[in-house]
Symmetry: C2
Subunit: 212 residues, 2 copies
DNA sequence: GAAAGCCTATCGATCGATCGATCGTGAAGC
DNA sequence: GCTTCACGATCGATCGATCGATAGGCTTTC
């Protein structure tokens, strides 16, 4: 698709990711979308609502992928491994969108921010669940105060800050490596089992339409 | 000290961290520093130079602390553990400064940005060194393409995004926990030795004047 | 002829930055 | 001891540019 709507959306994602919400003016956004600044307003509410829409869609997909990957999975190692792999792959393949989600929350007014945070919390709840189950089962070491969860999420989100598709690393390798790092840090030992990357591949293709 | 200079500096750090460089106007900055916007310019060059100064100082201290902590340390586990603990503690105790360093690089013009990045690279070099030595010695598992280094740095930097001094965690516990997570992820096994936290404590006090 | 898409022109507000003027203070000159 | 003067600190006023957003009109499409 190359409709005007998607052109606006893609330009916004690219510019917000590169320069930050406040660092991009609507004239610059309009130019990138090949429109006049006035015409932009046929395709968005306010600039802020455009930002919130981008964040919402990104989190919606992330949440959907994570639920697909974890429902009916009993083994906590498999569960957490899949979450980490998917999270890392998403933050590499959709680096701009996820960077916007991670960095621009503060640019939203309280009302919109609450809405986005609620969704983010739902997603992080899946991680907490997997970690909890693993600790109950004794395959992960204890995590007081959720430090491990926060540390691991930050680690996996950081991918968006350095990954380059021109680098030597495929998305699949990346996901697998991050699953390993995550499980190790959670206390699963130095050589944890690789999660079902074939299943992750299917989910990624279904959710983002990206080849893995 | 409560000189006008430090008032300006502190207000800038607080506001840049909370709203981002482009989200803060000089009038708002002036108000927070209890000055007129014109008077600000007696205490800074441009707004951008103020930002670069903040970043430079923050990285300078981080680099200095890391060098103090690693010179003459042979054991790679001890070395990496100290780096992780110090990094995490710095990102908790100086969360605003470090958040500015991590998030606002893109707001700098190429010239100033290069200067800051050069310094950041020097710091990350210490991490690469510790990881390399550990892999050579066989106590860490291989890290192709520096993934582990990047992942660990992002994990430890993430502290600035969630740590609250009102939480149940002391800086010392935090540093110790992050050292553990880091060494585990590097492949040192599920129960790596704690680094010399007493030494870290001394360095933190010397570098930032913070109690630990 | 209604609707959708897109434009030019423009709004009031705010941006970063600079101007010249004023104020207080402490050293220099006599 | 008094005056003068230089200087750092601070201010209100204002610069030109840009901000996000809107009004109203011209095309194209169905």
């Amino acid at each position: 698709m190359n409709s005007t709507h998607t052109r606006v959306r893609k330009a916004a994602v690219r510019l917000f990711a590169a320069k930050g919400y406040h660092g991009v003016g609507i004239r610059e956004l309009a130019e990138a979308a090949k429109l006049s600044s006035a015409s932009l307003y046929h395709y968005m509410g306010t600039k802020e609502e455009l930002l919130a829409d981008i964040m919402w869609d990104c989190l919606e997909r992330l949440l959907s992928a994570a639920m697909l990957a974890t429902t009916d999975v009993q083994d906590p190692q498999e569960k957490l491994g899949r979450l980490a792999a998917l999270h890392a792959i998403a933050h590499a393949a959709q680096a701009k969108e996820t960077a916007v989600v991670d960095n621009e929350l503060r640019a939203l007014s309280p009302k919109l921010r609450r809405r986005i945070i609620k969704q983010r919390d739902a997603y992080e709840g899946l991680w907490a669940e997997a970690l909890d189950e693993g600790q109950q089962a004794g395959v992960f070491l204890p995590d007081e105060h959720g430090i491990t969860r926060r540390a691991l999420l930050e680690m996996c989100s950081g991918v968006a800050r350095w990954y380059s598709p021109r680098g030597p690393l495929t998305l699949r390798e990346l996901g697998s490596r991050y699953a390993t790092l995550t499980l190790r840090a959670a206390g699963a030992g130095p050589n944890p089992p690789e999660p079902d990357m074939e299943r992750c591949r299917t989910i990624v293709r279904y959710t983002w339409g990206t080849k893995v």
